[in-house]
């Protein structure tokens, strides 16, 4: 890539956070590090995955409020995780996490396990066990 064709698309994500370095060739054919304010292609895919997590979280919240899903599912998406990441983070098997992600599995969770989830998500246990009240009261 030539130095003057390095994209400078002013990605909204980086606004206020500086630039990134791209290696490109200058007029004399030498490689140099060029500062770039971003590329549209990056912004598109980044926004896509961020919005996907947000959508999943919103959907899980609705279902958790109506009692069809586990609040853990909402927090998992909120913290940008998937079940395997959650399992290895908490230190339990994947199939157990999957069980806790269902409304029925969540209801059967004991106090100790709830604590572990709450600690991991950095929230109080009360938010997990009384999800409805907390969300409705903001």
């Amino acid at each position: 890539m030539k130095k003057n064709s390095v994209p400078q698309d002013n990605n909204p994500t980086y606004q206020g956070y500086g630039t990134k370095v791209i290696y490109a060739v200058d007029d004399g054919g030498e490689y140099t590090a060029v500062k770039s304010s971003g590329w549209e292609a990056e912004e598109i895919v980044l926004k896509d995955v961020v919005n996907d997590f947000k959508e999943k979280a919103r959907d899980a919240k609705e279902r958790a409020l109506s009692g069809q899903a586990s609040p853990i599912e909402y927090f998992m998406h909120l913290k940008l995780m998937d079940p395997p990441a959650l399992a290895s983070g908490i230190g339990i098997a994947k199939w157990r996490v999957k069980r806790h992600l269902s409304a029925r599995g969540f209801k059967r969770l004991n106090r100790k396990m709830l604590h572990r989830y709450a600690d991991f998500f950095d929230i109080s246990v009360d938010i997990l066990s009384n999800f409805k009240d907390h969300i409705n009261n903001g």
Binding site: M1, V6, T13, Y14, G16, Y17, G18, T19, K20, V21, I22, Y23, A24, V25, E30, Y31, A33, K35, W39, E40, A41, E42, I44, V45, L46, K47, D48, V49, V50, D52, K79, L80, M81, D82, P84, A85, S88, G89, I90, G91
Partner: protein, 334 residues
Amino acid sequence: MDKTIPYNHRHFAHCESGVISLLLEHHGLKLSEPMVFGLSGAMSFAFLPFLKMGNLPVVAYRMFPGHIIKKLPKILSIKPFRKRYKDQDIAMKELDAFLADGQIVGIQTSAYFTTYFPPDMRFQFNAHNSIVFGKQGEEYLISDPVFETPQRIHAVDLKKARFTKGLSAPKGLVHFPRLVPEKVDLEPLIRKSIRKTVNMMLHAPPFIGLKGIRQLANHVRHLPRKRDNVYTRHFLGNLVRMQEEIGTGGGGFRFIYAAFLQETHQALGLPLLSEASLKMTEAGDTWREYALACAKAVKQKSGTADLPLIASLLCRCADAEKEVFTMLKDLKKS
């Protein structure tokens, strides 16, 4: 505690090679980022459909995170200091002790708790690298090579970032080189590292190197038969993110490698290397073209992604890289 170690921050493309380049420079050995990247043989390609992250197959444009930190000191015969911790408080205390001794320290953090990142970039990615070079009150001074200027992070956040759990958990890793030689004879090291990369790209088992790129092309071609539009979109988006977003210097590290080849040409004076560098730049340009095609497909959303085009672009990347590495194969003769 207030301590700032005199130190020169610089802005690089990739966190891991940048950190090593900065640490070595601080200890008196000047190696550029492309040189660090190339010498450690970090250039690679892997498409691992059986290994999933976030429900998507792993695609990597370089060796595993941690490869450079592990391998480069060995290659340069430098004895590094490396330690991981079980106890978080001891880890933080020892970090303070290193700083008090005037030692700058490389650390591994999770991007999710790295508070100076742009909010949308704070993913659950555990292998981000940076350098701590001081502490003021409760804030650590961080030299993060992918940022223009030094950053600050609160001790509480840094502790969380150093002790996230999950895949490639940092476990409070600290590292810095000891006994760094002032000069290194690069020629034999360059030859050896290029030979290694050539072997990996051309002759590695399936899923890695050129075979990996071709397999990915096949996979993309057959996506519509196997998966729905949403999955296809996420799959393509993931490819672009791995290639461009995570500090690769553009084109999935291909431009860094081309810069490395150019530098080796200056050091060894073999015209072959300069030619290979030009070809590698071409390959990088093709990778960029392919990333743009993927991003377009993601933007459209409707599911009319031009997958045959994307697959053929991938094949072109593989062809271009094949030329580069067969060319480099002849290095041992000259």
